[in-house]
Amino acid sequence: MNIDTHPRGAELTFRFSGEIDHHGARNAIGEIGGKIEFFRPHICCIDMKEVTFMDSSGIAVVLCAFNKMRELDGRVQIINTPDQARRVLDAAGLDRLVTIAV
């Protein structure tokens, strides 16, 4: 998996691409946690357009962003969510914590 970071005003966008599994996501939590602490945005947007696969390792990544943004009184939204990733996010009940858009 790869992460591109795009800070713009109060919004910080992470563009995820590739396969988000334990192997691919091993540095992701540290990376996005550090970026959120550095930019301190109001909204953290995760763009999943280029994600080709995601398992529960992706849930931990989204939960990390959620917890960091809650400390900042901000929120997380996920956009361009592919069907397979959506099913994993829904199975974990993450739709109750973050906004998930197709």
């Binding site: 334990h22 192997h23 398992d55 390792s57 849930i59 069907d83 397979q84 199975a91 009940g93």
Partner: protein
């Protein structure tokens, strides 16, 4: 039940093999003509089971993982994932959503995902001896499903 076709794989518990394992089962399952959604569910469930062996069963060493997939009764897929790692002492607790011994990098949702994406999930484990996860999924017949 006699298997009409099967695959049997053995590989070391290296995280680079996660993608190989789910990809291999997806390729094998393709002969059942699953929908994209069914195929995605199978890949995800295999990824969860294999990742558990890599992360939990062999936390400090590289051990062996045995992965098998069978086709039964024309449209039923059975998958077993086996390790000889540390084992699970309390299986009910391990299956509880959000229960994890893996820290903040894990969410404790692996078994919940396997259970909801597959039709059947059985876990057998011996503490200190290893774990076997059995999963089954019946693939819907082509004519009966709205193709994507």
């Amino acid at each position: 039940m006699k298997a009409e076709n099967y695959i049997s794989l053995e590989f070391p518990s290296k995280s680079a093999n996660e993608a190989f394992a789910r990809g291999a089962v997806a390729c094998f399952a393709a002969q059942l003509d699953p929908t994209l959604e069914e195929l995605g569910d199978i890949k995800t469930a295999v990824s969860e089971a294999v990742t558990n062996c890599i992360v939990h069963a062999y936390p400090k060493e590289i051990g062996k993982i045995w992965l098998k997939a069978f086709i039964l009764n024309g449209n039923k897929l059975k998958i077993t994932v086996k390790d000889k790692g540390v084992g699970i002492s309390d299986i009910e607790q391990a299956k509880t959503p959000m229960f994890t011994t893996g820290g903040q990098e894990r969410s404790g949702m692996g078994f919940t995902i396997m259970e909801s994406f597959m039709d059947g999930l059985k876990i057998k484990s011996v503490p200190g001896g290893g774990t076997v996860v059995h999963m089954t999924k019946t693939i819907s017949i082509r004519a009966a499903k709205g193709r994507k």
